[in-house]
Amino acid sequence: MSPLWCYLTVSALLFCIGLAGALTRRNAIMVLIGIELMLNSANLNFIAFWRFSETPETQTGLMFALFSIAIAAAEAAVGLALIITIYRHFRTANVDKVEEMKG
Amino acid sequence: MLGTGILKGMVETAKNFAGSYHDPERLTTVEYPEQRIASKENARQFPFLVHDTEDPMKGLRCVACQICEKECPPQCIYIVKSKDKRADYKGQMQFYPATFDIDLSVCMSCQICVEVCPFESIKMDTEFELSNTDRFGGLLVNKHQLAKSNEHYRKIHPTEAAASDAALAVEVAKAQAKAKADVEAKAKAAAEAKTKAEAAAAAGPVGAPASAPAPKPSSPAAAPAA
């Protein structure tokens, strides 16, 4: 089995890919995808640290990961609903073009 | 309650499923090339030409009057009249079709040609398996393909054929009666002429040859059976 650093590196890579995407892409959905990637990389960290911890029986890492997945689902639902509403209003999903915040 | 209508329907389909194995009412399809549903007597598909003799071309009843060609709604009949005449079934000299084509790809089986024909010479066939690989040439049929015997007609439409035969018999009888009358009239005229001539001869020597007897009508090609 691979040592812990492998998982942590993969997780860091995913996080940075997500970060880079969220910073460079202009479409709100792409930003959201980037954020999802970052969340997932955190999850991988939770699981990896749980697996390599001295006391895996406590299952804390697993619990965190489960809750994180649930939060991510909620976040995706609300975020995408917002994007759709913004699109309806401004006819674009480009974050740069949506400047005014008043409805 | 929700679902009862669905259950009822399912019972109905189940009945039909079971019924299809034992109830002929519930399995109405037939397996076509092997099994065939008998054709209805009135059924019509495409026209054919009736002939009365062994040689189809000689016995065609058609006299190329071109009424059907004119009346045909989709204009699928094409007739060329012959140059010469020949005797028809009742002995009258008639034209005959030099060409008689029907484009079956255009024909709509409406039977109007049959209705308007005064000579009982075009009738509807019941042949329907006419599929052909040649869309144009294969469905353009000429008089050789169209000619079918009166026996065929009697076989496919017995009732209609009997009526047609009867009508023809009447025609023939009329023609014969007329011919007979003609002969008699001519004979009578000849006799009168003779008596006149005799009287004239008695009166003076004027030579008048007796008129030749009228040509004997050729017997009907096929005496229609009643």
């Binding site: 309806r88 006819r91 | 929700l2 679902g3 009862t4 209508g5 669905i6 009822k8 329907g9 019972v11 109905e12 389909t13 039909n16 109405t28 209805k40 007597e41 009135n42 059924a43 019509r44 009424i67 009346e71 045909c72 709604p73 709509m108 089986s109 409406c110 039977q111 109007i112 209705e115 308007v116 509807m124 009732t159």
Partner: protein
């Protein structure tokens, strides 16, 4: 509610739908779909240009003419008799009623009388045709609703029996070309009446079976009730006829109104719907079939002996005097009218078909707006169109 309360108050309502720009500001969200001309449920070569918002129809334009062969022009270049087989091909499900409508118009134009026996034969064949058409329509409608062919096959099983009758009478199953000006082409063959009586007597059994199969089905009711609604006022104004009009609650059946043929001799009821939706149209047709059977039963007993065609009617060289006539009858799909102008020649000067299918399509968009694409399909199915007649 009597009919006069319903009668339409003209000054106040404008029934015409103005061409409205659809979905302004929401261009990206709308989906424009051309349903047809190659589509499983357009009943022929027919197209509906539909604009969808999700699954909701926001615009629907019927497009047809794919089958247009200019029947009217052909008829103007053909003799009166020569048009008869062409009428078969208008509504190819009901060629006998088409024949009758045309024959009736020519008889009006030329003043021909129809012998008693021929009138009976016309009535019997027309009602058989009505039963046949409604049976098939029910099958097609349910097919559109997704009932994988089962109702359609049952309908075709029964239709076959009537088609057999028609074939043994006229020689053809669908393109009958049977009626003539002043009567019918030929007399009934031997044993035909008994066969017809048997079919008519057994038909209610099938209707009961069909009712058990589907009329009470929850899915059918949920799919059809409240779908494709048509108000009585709009139906009248848009010239809708036939079962569709009666499903909207308007009592207008030409068999009663015009009293053509010998319909006045047989009491039958005209079923009326109150909602004008697809379910009403379906049920009205089911009920009309039962009423038709009620006409058929005594008519098959009463039919007198006699000639079947007016001896004065000429087959060839038929030339009505100059004039014009509009004759119409109640075909299974609605009012089929023929408008003929004669100038004394063997061909009609003007020959016009008033096709019920075409005019019943006028309000297709009104019925479908705001409903889903699935509803549009069954609404079209309930209008009961035949493209041979729409396009002519």
């Amino acid at each position: 509610m009597t009919f006069h309360d319903l009668a339409y108050d003209a000054g106040k309502t404008d029934f015409h739908r103005k061409a409205q720009p659809v979905g302004q500001g929401r261009e990206g969200e709308l989906l424009e779909v051309a349903m047809g001309p190659q589509h499983p449920s357009t009943h022929g070569v027919f197209r509906m240009d539909v604009v969808l918002d999700g699954e909701t129809v926001v615009k629907l334009k019927p497009v047809f003419g794919y089958l247009h062969r200019n029947h009217e022009k052909i008829a103007e270049n053909t003799s009166y008799l020569g048009s008869m087989p062409y009428t078969d091909r208008l509504d190819y499900f009901c060629s006998l009623t088409n024949n009758w409508a045309y024959a009736l118009s020519v008889e009006k134009l030329a003043g021909l009388q129809v012998p008693e026996r021929a009138e009976y034969i016309r009535l019997i064949t027309a009602e058989l045709t009505r039963v046949l058409n409604h049976t098939c329509l029910a099958g097609f409608l349910l097919q559109d609703m997704g009932a994988l062919g089962t109702p359609l096959m049952y309908a075709f099983r029964e239709r076959e029996k009537i088609l057999d009758l028609i074939e043994s009478l006229t020689g053809a199953r669908m393109m009958c070309n049977y009626m003539r000006f002043g009567g019918c082409r030929c007399d009934l063959p031997a044993g035909w009446l008994d066969a017809a009586k048997k079919v008519v007597a057994e038909y209610p059994k099938f209707l009961d079976e069909f009712d058990a199969l589907l009329s009470g089905n929850e899915i059918l009711m949920a799919r059809t009730q409240g779908v494709g609604k048509l108000s009585a006022e709009l139906a009248i104004n848009a010239g809708i006829t036939g079962p569709m009009l009666r499903a909207s609650g308007v009592d207008y059946d030409l068999r009663k109104v015009d009293n053509y043929g010998i319909y006045s001799r047989y009491p039958f009821r005209v079923p009326l719907g109150d909602h004008g939706d697809v379910y009403d149209r379906y049920m009205i047709r089911m009920l009309e079939m039962r009423e038709s059977l009620k006409i058929l039963e005594p008519a098959l007993k009463d039919i007198p002996e006699g000639p079947v065609v007016d001896p004065k009617a000429k087959l060839r060289g038929f030339r009505p005097k100059a004039g014009e006539a509009y004759g119409r009858i109640e075909t299974p799909k609605g009012e089929l009218g023929f408008y003929l102008i004669s100038d004394g020649s063997p061909n009609p000067y003007r020959y016009r078909v008033r096709p019920p299918s075409l005019i019943n399509l006028t309000i297709l968009e009104d019925m479908c707006l705001g409903q889903t694409i699935a509803d549009a399909v069954i609404t079209l199915g309930s209008v009961d169109i035949v493209l041979g007649e729409v396009d002519r």
